[in-house]
Amino acid sequence: MTNFYDTDSSNGSRIAVMGVGNILFTDEGIGIYATEFLKQNYQFSPAIDLIDGGTLGMNLIHYYQQYDHLLLLDTISVGDVKTPGEVYSLNSDVLQGMGQYRQTAHEVEVLQTLELGALAGDIAEVQIIAMVPQDIETVAFELTQPVRKNIALLINTVVQHLKSLKVTVRPNASPVTLDAIIEQFSQVSASA
């Protein structure tokens, strides 16, 4: 029985792609869908972990501590003018200092956990690859058009970043569509 916090470190640096967000709220699920899309459509060498991170709070810290490189796929809000579908790729250092204590409700946010993680010890090099969402309020297993239109850009950005980490990424012969991925999430079943 292996402890899920322990990962195989025999292959040099430990790398993971982790989607965060809430798939119940339309575009809030971008990161999760994109991670699953990568998992089902590509082969990675050396092997990497692809994780559905949901809306973890403090538990994100464990993942920061567990890897050397963590690619965090998420939604992002930039400035006051919203351009849904825009993709940003930034090293977490750029955002350091923004997880302000007094401005948070209670559950910690991604930026805050990055800082708490750093305080707790050595953490992964975190690259945030994120897209500006259009709709994060409607309760539905769906993605909006501007997001769908640019999902390839998001995926490609992740692939390019992995390549920069010396990971070989090969697409599978028979691709699984984004619609099929979303369908899998919406049809989750314990009764089958």
């Binding site: 798939i23 930034l90 409700a105 910690v108």
Partner: protein, 568 residues
């Protein structure tokens, strides 16, 4: 300033960095006393739209996604609601395994809430840098014979680490507190002791998640529960897994007794005047559904209702008395309705042009839940008070001990700091009770009771039925309601702890618990409303789970934008 207004309106949008998540608007008079408050929040709504028409056995897997932090709580509540609807009773071992996960969550949530999300309302980080480490070590020994990690050397190491972070300026966590605010009352040495445990608690809470993962499976999306029982059978039967779990809980228990409780007593002593002044006191209506039955039929939590701080009598709790209404919330379906029959039809009436709440009309995405038409406070304070008054076997002695040592009386727990004190006592009680559940489980297995699932024939179950689960979880009372028709979900509703506490006003104009706790507070500095944050934070709000977007506003990020190859 030449002009003075009798009443000043202050908007606090601090309570969250995400637009609309929790916003508090207050009115203060010329003496800086809060005369009125409006708490406006965005909370998960519309779970029924996504669950309608599904197989009732699947609701747990979707409902757990309501919140990534409270996953296990929603998962269990959903599964239990379906079991209630079908009158399926899971075997005792399944109940125990579920409890081992739920109770470890209490401990983890309380630790994280206090140290990482709330303590900095009382602890001034910058002051800790000025502490005399030798003196700090001596002070720590006054609060406990063997204080956790508090030798002079330990404390000096922590101080250096903190100084590095603060000086590096990269720690936004500490960059924006109200440091130096006149209402911080701990000495530099006491602040250092707290910060030391703040760092230790980061490690401890991580260990507790490992314990939870042993039976609950990997966070954030556990699959250990099914209607009728649990699936983590092999973990339950493996002595090594049980041992790993116990080892972590034992280690955590040490931290609670030698760090968390002494720290809380220190805060209670330093802020005694604030407690006795009743800062952050609400209506005094408290409610608990009880639960976590031990082998001798004694529940860990006692159920009941307290009205208006009258501790002389406890009314029985009856979940059919719960309704939700939306006369001041952004929904069309306004009338008080049983959660079984609620709909979620948004009726957003917008904010004022200047971005403030329309305080005369609808102003929140949270509905107003009421018990017999009244707002109720739920959470550790409610549980500890009701447990104390009802003489609950496990709660009463712990509360009595804490009260004897600190000089607090029951009324004092109805305050900003009192809620935290109750939370600390509860963490200790719960952690100790975990051992009783583990012993019982080991006994059962020893006598070959390895049942973990109650068999049922889905085809033979009624096509039309309804059920609910009312469950105490770390933040308070959580209830899920399900109506089933043609063996599919017809309606579904979740009333979560924060809905109770962060409720807006109702059609009678009665304030929600946050609002009531804020009104009457006297602010030392209206520009830095620390007292308001203390009151709101003391309830352990859970709002940010609904939507979380990395917020990079105010930063120039255009250089990090990725453009498709060929464009620029």
């Amino acid at each position: 300033m030449t002009e003075t207004t009798p009443k000043q309106k202050i908007v606090i949008d601090p309570v969250t960095r995400i637009e609309g998540h929790l916003r508090v608007e207050i009115e203060v008079d010329e003496l800086n006393t809060v005369t009125e408050a409006w708490a406006s929040g965005q909370l998960f709504r519309g779970i029924e739209t996504i669950l309608k028409g599904r197989d009732p056995r699947d609701t747990g897997l979707i409902a757990q996604r309501i919140c990534g932090v409270c996953t296990n709580s929603h998962y269990r509540a959903s599964i239990s609601a379906v079991e209630n609807a079908y009158e399926i009773v899971p075997p005792r071992n399944a109940e125990i395994v579920r409890n081992l996960v739920s109770l470890a969550l209490f401990v983890q949530d309380h630790l994280v809430h206090y140290y990482h999300l709330h303590s900095l309302d009382y602890v001034d980080v910058t002051s800790a840098l000025e502490a005399d480490c030798k003196k700090a070590s001596e002070i720590a020994h006054q609060w406990h014979k063997h204080p956790y990690n508090c030798s002079q050397g330990d404390l000096a190491a922590v101080q250096e680490k903190l100084a590095n972070f603060v000086n590096a300026g990269r720690l936004g966590l500490f960059a924006n507190g109200y440091w130096g605010h006149s209402q911080y009352k701990l000495s530099p040495e006491e602040n250092l002791i707290h910060m030391n445990h703040y760092l230790e608690a980061l490690r401890i809470q991580r260990e507790v998640s490992k314990a939870i993962a042993i039976f609950g499976g990997k966070t954030p999306h556990p699959q250990n529960l099914v209607v009728g029982g649990v699936t983590s059978v092999m973990d339950m039967l493996n002595p090594q897994r049980l041992n790993d779990y116990l080892f972590i809980i034992k280690d955590t228990q040490e931290f609670l007794k030698r760090a968390y409780l002494p720290d809380m007593k220190m805060v209670v002593a330093a802020y005694g005047d604030n407690i006795k002044a009743g800062e952050g006191r609400g209506h005094g209506n408290f409610m608990c559904s009880g639960g976590y039955q031990l082998s001798d039929d004694e529940p860990l939590f006692a159920s009941g209702v307290i009205w208006g701080h009258d501790f002389s009598k406890i009314e029985p709790f009856d979940d059919t008395q719960i309704t939700e209404e939306a006369s001041r919330s952004w929904y069309a379906d306004e009338a008080p309705t049983s959660p079984y029959d609620e709909t979620t039809e948004p009726d957003y009436t917008y904010m004022n042009a200047d971005g403030t709440l329309k305080t005369d009309g609808k102003y929140s995405w949270i509905k107003a839940p009421r018990y017999q038409g009244q707002p109720m406070e739920v959470g550790p304070a409610a549980r500890m008070m009701i447990g104390y008054v009802k003489n609950a076997k496990f709660i009463r002695p712990y509360m009595q001990h804490f009260m004897d040592e600190t000089g607090l009386d029951l009324m004092d727990f109805s305050s900003s700091i009192g809620r935290n004190a109750a939370r600390a006592v509860e963490a200790e009680v719960v952690c100790d009770v975990i051992f009783a559940f583990v012993s019982e489980l080991i006994e059962n297995i020893k006598y070959y009771d390895e049942t973990t699932w109650t068999k049922y024939d889905f085809e033979a179950l009624p096509l039309e039925t309804k059920g609910r689960a009312v469950l105490e979880v770390p933040r308070g009372m959580l209830s899920h309601f399900i109506r089933i028709q043609d063996a599919k979900v017809k309606n579904y509703q979740a009333v979560v702890p924060t809905t109770w506490n962060a409720s807006p006003k109702d059609n009678q104009g009665i304030r929600g618990p946050y609002e009531e706790a804020i009104v009457g507070l006297k602010l030392a500095d209206p520009q830095q409303p620390l007292e308001v944050l203390r009151a709101v934070h003391s309830f352990d709000p859970c709002l940010a789970c609904a939507v979380h977007v990395i917020d990079a506003k105010g930063q120039t990020l255009s250089e990090h934008r990725v453009t498709p190859i060929g464009s620029f």
